[in-house]
Subunit: 224 residues, 2 copies
Amino acid sequence: MVCRMQTVEQALRTLVTEGTQDGSLRPGSKLPTERALVAQLAAPRSAVRRALEVLERDGVVIRHVGRGTFLTDVAVAQVDGAPADTSPAEIMQVRLLLEPQVAAQAARVATQADLDRVVECLAGGAVSDDFEGFESWDAKLHRAIAKATHNGLLMNMFDVVNTARALPVWGSLKRRVSTPERRRCYHDEHTAIVDALRDRDPDGAAYAMRHHLEHVSDNLLGRH
Amino acid sequence: MVCRMQTVEQALRTLVTEGTQDGSLRPGSKLPTERALVAQLAAPRSAVRRALEVLERDGVVIRHVGRGTFLTDVAVAQVDGAPADTSPAEIMQVRLLLEPQVAAQAARVATQADLDRVVECLAGGAVSDDFEGFESWDAKLHRAIAKATHNGLLMNMFDVVNTARALPVWGSLKRRVSTPERRRCYHDEHTAIVDALRDRDPDGAAYAMRHHLEHVSDNLLGRH
DNA sequence: TGGTTCAATTGGTTCAGATTGGTTCGTCAA
DNA sequence: TTGACGAACCAATCTGAACCAATTGAACCA
């Protein structure tokens, strides 16, 4: 069952993924008509329809007689979701690149309500001394800081990283290096970040965040 | 029957929100006539009417035969209260935050094949002098640079931004400020970035990218 | 001044023709 | 025989244009 008979379906899938990647296709976008795809892919209509049926069964597209074929949000979710092979090193590289800037922006524009939510997460991390609980509050804290930027797109990207953090490889790695002592240390670093946010100190927040993430990165991946 | 939003309805909504934001539209203001919208949006009148029916059902507009279509006060309330959709300002903020670092990393780890792809996009932008073509090559160029980092997660986050860039607000805004002269200028800046990549100069690439994006941001949003 | 008329404008409606996904069927190669 | 291919056809939907009815406002006149 490894024949080349899937070429049309593959061509369609790459067409969809490329379209969503370069932004020309979004959820709800109309795909070319079946007859247009026949010409475009130089394939018989029956093959195009067979491929479209698979995509429809996968929930990637939805078809309507007289209207056309449309992308669902599943399509972009499949593309946007973190790839399964994302390595912890990649994740930490992105976090180090992104989160200090996020913290700086949060220090500038956070409201009191934002800060309250952040502090709440900090307190939650303080009282939970087991791995699961601390990890949960840690994720919530970092997300609350991102939310405090009031930049929806930034939040969106932050969530992409967070989905990567939910990958099994990440969990097992973090569980292996997590100790009560390190969690206390992380909590202190969290406190330093939150203090900078409360002081409305963008540079301080960015520095504290970078220091914290470098510490995390060192623990996870070993010192470079 | 959960059809996704039609392009026309989205275009109308952005037209309303932009109008209320820049003050040209207020509660009670008269919208363009259906026939004017047909010309403005290059859409069939049936689609315009379908979109207007939705807006009327939402209470955003009220329609009178022989008089026209008028904004209600609900419209501005929705604009003020609703969570702001990703605005061009947000997008540029994120791009300014992300892409210089991406360029620096690309300068460090790009392969010759990566650079070849980037140069190809640069050449494509040079020969296409219309808005659509240049915009397409521009997106491809920035994405090729992101790809050169060999960090899949970074690529994914980049695609999240690109998806936002495909929003109609962004398109109309960019179309408004795009001129042949500016496109030539952008091309020169692109060339500077690519040169830095070829020189394996991370700082230079980051600087060139930041300079380019600040230029784009200034053109789009006005100088701050 | 006040009223009437009438053409232009605007949202609402209808309908024939084009478009589009879905289906059937004859042909042909493996 | 089996399966794919292509063409014709079907039904749902969209499109564009003409037409309808409500409204407006300017022109006109007593």
